[in-house]
């Protein structure tokens, strides 16, 4: 079979961009060129220079520093949102796939209903009831991911619970909890890991969108979406201000998607 010339390129490029993202985020916690929150009104809207490679914003804050610290926000929201979605989804999927019957049917309709709430919709509702903020965006994005995890877990459980090794373990006297935790759940992990990997860049896009709408990360905290919202007010005078944060989002998501595709190709050559 002919080898795909781009297979390793995809993976390498994705890994390189992702490493850049993680290193930037880690570095920003100990060092940024300037304080990302320090305002200096006299220096507002400076173009790119040696002191401020990406220029300064409407309060004179260093855009590069804010983009670096924004990477932390993106990663934190992404990890927590995917974690919440996976936890909720796997819990529902286990309950549904293991017990079956009317509970399964009801939980699946609940999952169908949850699918009617994309992150933006839940975020609107939560923001109205509580207050907009980074917690709202984490929960809202997490909820949007839960159905996919629930379906994958349920499907694996339906298939695995009738398999010989599970039946044998049950015959040997293993209880429900032991059967689920020791025998079935470990075997459902590979698709769930792939799902988590592909969800991560989606979460980063959603975080940016929610922050842009004012439903997520609140000022003065740096978030790429929030920076774009601020940039929109000065679009005609300072267009560069809108280019850097958007570029950071696009590069990050591109890198993570490439990494995900590359990993899947390497781990599972059948589907490549």
């Amino acid at each position: 079979m002919r080898r795909r010339p781009l297979r390793h390129l995809t993976f390498a490029l994705g890994a390189a961009i992702t490493t850049l993202l993680v290193v930037t985020a880690a570095l920003s916690l100990v060092y940024t060129p300037s304080d990302p929150l320090a305002m200096a009104i006299a220096w507002r809207f400076q173009g790119p220079s040696a002191a401020h490679p990406f220029g300064t914003d409407q309060y004179g804050r260093d855009v590069l520093s804010r983009i670096m610290r924004g990477a932390v926000t993106s990663i934190a929201v992404g990890v927590i949102a995917v974690g919440l979605g996976a936890a909720a989804g796997i819990f529902i999927g286990v309950l549904s796939g293991y017990t079956g019957g009317w509970l399964d049917e009801a939980l699946m309709r609940l999952i169908d209903a949850v699918q009617g709430f994309p992150a933006i919709l839940s975020a609107l509702l939560f923001s109205a009831v509580f207050a907009p903020g980074v917690a709202v965006s984490m929960v809202a994005i997490g909820i949007a991911f839960a159905p996919a995890f629930a379906r994958l877990t349920r499907a694996s459980f339906l298939e695995l619970r009738e398999r010989e090794f599970v039946v044998a373990a049950r015959a040997l006297g293993a209880g429900d909890r032991r059967l689920i935790a020791r025998h079935i759940l470990p075997n459902t992990l590979p698709p769930l890991v792939i799902q988590a990997t592909t969800s991560f860049p989606v979460a980063i896009l959603a975080e940016a969108a929610l922050a842009y709408l004012g439903l997520g990360t609140q000022p003065p905290n740096p978030s790429w979406g929030l920076m774009l919202k601020e940039a929109q007010n000065f679009l005609s005078l300072h267009p560069l201000f809108a280019v850097f944060p958007g570029g950071a989002i696009a590069l990050t998501v591109l890198g993570l998607n490439l990494l995900g595709d590359g990993l899947r190709d390497l781990l599972d050559p059948k589907t490549a």
Partner: protein
């Protein structure tokens, strides 16, 4: 087939029931006291008690839910606190922006994604395929609202061809309306198209590996007919699944794009209601959009049966 349809319909109704429960729980149960929520810190205890009485918050939660659901089913979504008009009327007044925007974006998405995906599949692992996939990767990575900002930057700020936002309405004919929705629809549709390109490509690739495609080619059927008749028709089921999910995403995405382009649609209605603490409006819009997305998913389920008679449902 009829049994399948009846079961899907029952599942659809059950799903809508859960949608309403979810919205009700978040708005009326989680916060504890919606009356205080609406009044904020200004209200006196007496005023809060009056509002609770008026909203029926003194009754048992299931009774409140049943009452709320019964009203919602008859189109009564409550009254907006901010505008003092029925929420349902507000929603209907914003639909002429959100629906055409969603549909226009969906058209742009399909018109771009289907041919490009089909082309990429026929050029599998050759230059054309790689170029299409690179474009698709870039498209997926660019957030639609940033694409919107860049389009404004190019077409309004630099070239001055179109206004940077606002909606001209449908009263002046079709074109002024479409013109004000065109840039947001491009930002929304072209970038969702990137996802559909990949789905179309892999669905077509799967079918091209089938025996009957080889048979068709072996007996000398022209390539155009192989692709158009044998392949595309059979690849439609997975494509329609993804396109259905995308349509829901587009409806949610239009909420963001309305903000970028200052369009008076459902999204801006809900966002404005958050600042004004207008809970009934947010509740109504959320319920409406979620119900629409569930309806789209139901339509996709039904479309399977029509598209692929080979699938047996019992």
């Amino acid at each position: 087939m009829r049994r399948y349809l009846v079961r899907r319909l029952a599942a659809f109704v059950a799903t809508l029931f859960f949608v309403s429960v979810l919205v009700f729980v978040v708005v009326r149960v989680l916060p504890g006291d919606p009356a205080l929520l609406i009044m904020g810190t200004e209200g006196s205890p007496e005023a809060a008690a009056r509002l609770r009485e008026a909203m029926g918050l003194n009754r048992a939660i299931p009774v409140q839910y049943a009452d709320w659901l019964w009203r919602a089913l008859r189109g009564d979504l409550g009254v907006s606190i901010q505008y003092d008009v029925p929420v349902a009327r507000l929603i209907v007044s914003r639909l002429p922006v959100t629906l055409p925007l969603t549909l226009l974006a969906a058209c742009l998405m399909s018109v771009t994604a289907l041919p490009l995906g089909l082309y990429a599949a026929t050029r599998h692992r050759r230059a054309g395929d790689y170029v299409a996939m690179v474009f698709s990767q870039i498209g997926i990575a660019i957030p639609s609202f940033w694409a919107g900002l860049l389009l404004i930057l190019l077409f309004s700020v630099r070239l001055g061809w179109v206004q940077s936002g606002g909606f001209e309405g449908w009263s002046g004919g079709l074109w002024p309306g479409i013109r004000s929705l065109l840039l947001p629809a491009i930002a929304l549709g072209l970038f969702q198209a990137a996802v559909l390109v990949r789905a179309t490509r892999s669905a077509v690739l799967d079918v091209l590996r089938e025996e009957y495609v080889r048979t068709a080619r072996a007996k000398g059927v022209s390539e155009a007919l192989v692709l158009g008749k044998h392949t595309l028709r059979n690849a439609l089921v997975p494509i329609v699944t993804v396109a259905g999910i995308q349509l829901g995403q587009l409806m949610a995405g239009s909420i963001i794009l309305e903000s970028v382009f200052a369009l008076p649609g459902l999204g801006r209605l809900a966002l404005g209601a958050i600042t004004a603490r207008d809970l009934p409006v947010v509740q109504g819009v959320t319920l409406f959009v979620a119900a629409c997305i569930v309806l789209i998913n139901f339509a996709v389920d039904i479309a399977y049966v029509i598209l692929d008679p080979r699938i047996r449902y019992d």
